[in-house]
Amino acid sequence: MATIRTTQTLAAALNSGLRHALDDDPTVVLLGEDIGTLGGVFRVTDGLQRDFGPDRVMDTPLAEAGIMGVAVGLAYRGYRPVVEIQFDGFVYPAVDQLVTQVARIHYRTGGAVRMPITVRIPYGGGIGAVEHHSESPEAYFAHTPGLRVVTCASPQDAHTMIRQAIACDDPVVFFEPKRRYWVKGEVDESMHDVPLLDRARVVVEGTDVTLATYGPLVITARDAALAAQDEGLSVEVVDLRSLSPVDLDTLEVSVRKTGRLVVSHEAQGSGGLGAEIVASITDRCFDVLKAAPARVTGFDTPYPAAKVEEHFLPNLDRMLDAVDRVMGRQHSLTGWRAS
């Protein structure tokens, strides 16, 4: 297949990825609330029910545990269900089926029954929404053995990774950075030379500090790296892509080069993915670490009201502040230490 690039939004790249998946494999079936006629509240499934029919793109009753449990049964029967959870905050009713069933049936049955289920979750904040529409629950799933957890930051990755996730024989929780749905980029649909689903990627090379992040904050981190350059700092940005397992090898290579690590995510800090990454990298790179790794995350509060969400979410300045901190710079904005 010739390498043809088209410009697509991240949402459109997911849509075209889902379309390929439905085309390529008759066992792929999409389930969710409002994904059919409406095409999803974000239009990610737009046109798919029209083209593949209501048997393959199914609007379901309003019941997330039900959707997830029905997906388990479909997988038992040999299907490859792709479940949409309408917003991050609505995954909780499905947590039981996800954690006690989807994640474990392969283990439970000694490998006899696979659960190739993909759970699509638009996630993250910054869109001025009401409660339960701006959350980042990835740490719950990254702590759950048996689930793969991934997210994407660009249209190309969105397209590639959703297809890889659906083709994967393990269950994959696929977080979609909803505030980046309208970001545009070139997308090559050939699936040639694509990185593996569980690999991180260095998106900006640098030598002073490693800034690891994922999903909606990758763009922010790139901007931060640019800004840091103006201050004479060389920041290496790593897009983790896979949140479980984390590609620690790629991260270790980077930190061995820079000696410094900043991890950033929107989710609340305590017990978040940043903790795992800091702990793992400290273990692997203790000998080369020049400073304690820093975390730039949502605060340990519930997601706040829209008018103050900017004060909850990590942003470019907070990232730069942390970079300054691990650099031991006096002029770091606050010079704060966690203690």
Binding site: T37, P54, D59, V130, A305, A306, V308, D317, D321, T334
Partner: protein, 373 residues
């Protein structure tokens, strides 16, 4: 081929059109009902006018809120257009010591409970996660997680029994919510403990783009019997019928007879929220059909026929509605953006050391910008 017919235009499958209690026809004719008439014997023209006024006010401010959203003043608004009778008829049956656990669309209920104009704006403008102090008006913060509040209402109702009072808890939810496990579990608990709770389902035919036929193959009220809970199906566009059904349910609850399930059959005349595009899924002829059953128009006809709704009175009502809408708009503009550091407040009753640290660090961070500037 799977058998669920969920194509657009099937908003109200035939099997959903079972009989429902109706006391006022769409044409504004009062129908006699030997069972329910005694329950509303006290509702004279003046009282009916009050209900009518409520509906007019509520429709007026709902329209205003949509406009505010269109003007960028609100992030979102879930219109209740078409559901005025269901909300007013049920909420006006309550006592102040009853307690409401609602979903997001029950702004008409909130109005009846005493929410102030600005209170109705707070959540949708994004300045707070709650519009009012729940205990002050006897109504919990509207619930965004579909169905969750039905359990809260049930628990609250159990508390009323424990306290030896005859207050009642009411759970408002939609047709879509009936599919949720929580709603089922609430009905199980309520039945088992004979909790004084009313499950008030506004079947507005839609859960966003999904017709009710995707959630239920039988009239929703039919679910109740299997739990041993009486179910009443009522014309949700008939404010009098809703009031009557609600009074019957409240009497049962206060008398220790336990829960009642009410399905108010109505129609969501607007979009799901201001973010929604119902042209993608609603058959326009459905809307025409339902417009003919408008809840306000029929009472207007009835009251006019009876000579109770004079031009003067109509003008006074309109003025009251306009005033409320204006207060709401002004209240909206006047809502202060919270302090940045408010983000850290009220996570716990007393902040933890870690939260204190995060707060003071963030305060220092913000202060740096002030210094820089």
């Amino acid at each position: 081929m799977l058998r669920a017919d969920v194509s657009p235009g099937r908003a109200l499958p035939t099997h959903q059109q079972a009989e429902a209690l109706q006391l006022v026809t769409p044409d504004g004719v009062r129908r006699d009902d030997p069972v329910y008439d005694p329950v509303i014997a006290d509702v004279d023209d003046e009282k009916l006018l009050a209900l009518y006024e409520d509906m007019v006010v509520v429709r007026r401010f709902d329209t205003e809120a949509v406009a505010l959203q269109r003007q960028g003043q609100l992030g979102l608004w879930p219109p209740l257009l078409g559901q005025e009778a269901a909300q007013i008829g049920s909420a006006r049956a309550l006592r102040s010591d009853d307690f409401v656990f609602s979903s997001y669309r029950e702004n008409g209920v909130a109005y009846c409970r005493g929410a102030q104009p600005a209170d109705l704006m707070r959540v949708w403008r994004g300045t707070a996660l709650a519009g009012w102090d729940p205990r002050a008006i006897g109504m919990a913060t509207p619930q965004v997680m579909i169905g969750s509040q039905t359990l809260h209402a049930t628990g609250y109702a159990l508390g009323c029994v424990k306290d030896g009072v005859d207050s009642v808890a009411v759970a408002y939810f939609g047709d879509g919510a009936t599919s949720k496990g929580d709603v089922h579990e609430a009905m199980v608990f309520a039945a088992t403990f004979a909790a004084p709770v009313i499950f008030f389902c506004q079947n507005n035919q839609w859960a966003i783009s999904e017709p009710v036929g995707l959630q239920a193959q039988r009239p929703i009220a039919d679910r109740a019997a299997g739990y041993g809970i009486p179910g009443i199906r009522v014309d949700g566009n008939d404010v009098l019928a809703v009031l009557a059904a609600m009074r019957v349910a409240l009497d049962r609850a206060r008398g220790g007879e336990g829960p009642t399930f009410i399905e108010a059959v109505t129609y969501r005349m607007g979009p799901h929220t201001t973010s929604d595009d119902p042209t993608r899924y609603v058959d326009p002829s459905d809307k025409v059909e339902w417009a003919a059953k408008d809840p306000i128009a029929r009472i207007e006809r009835l009251l006019t026929a009876r000579g109770a709704l004079t031009d003067e009175r109509a003008a006074a009502i309109k003025a009251k509605a306009d005033t409320f809408a204006t207060q709401m708009r002004e209240g909206c503009y006047g809502l202060p953006t919270p302090e940045p550091l408010s983000v850290f407040e009220d996570v716990f009753v007393e902040p933890t050391p870690e939260l204190e640290r995060q707060r003071s660090q963030y305060a220092a961070y913000l202060a740096m910008f002030d210094e820089e500037a």
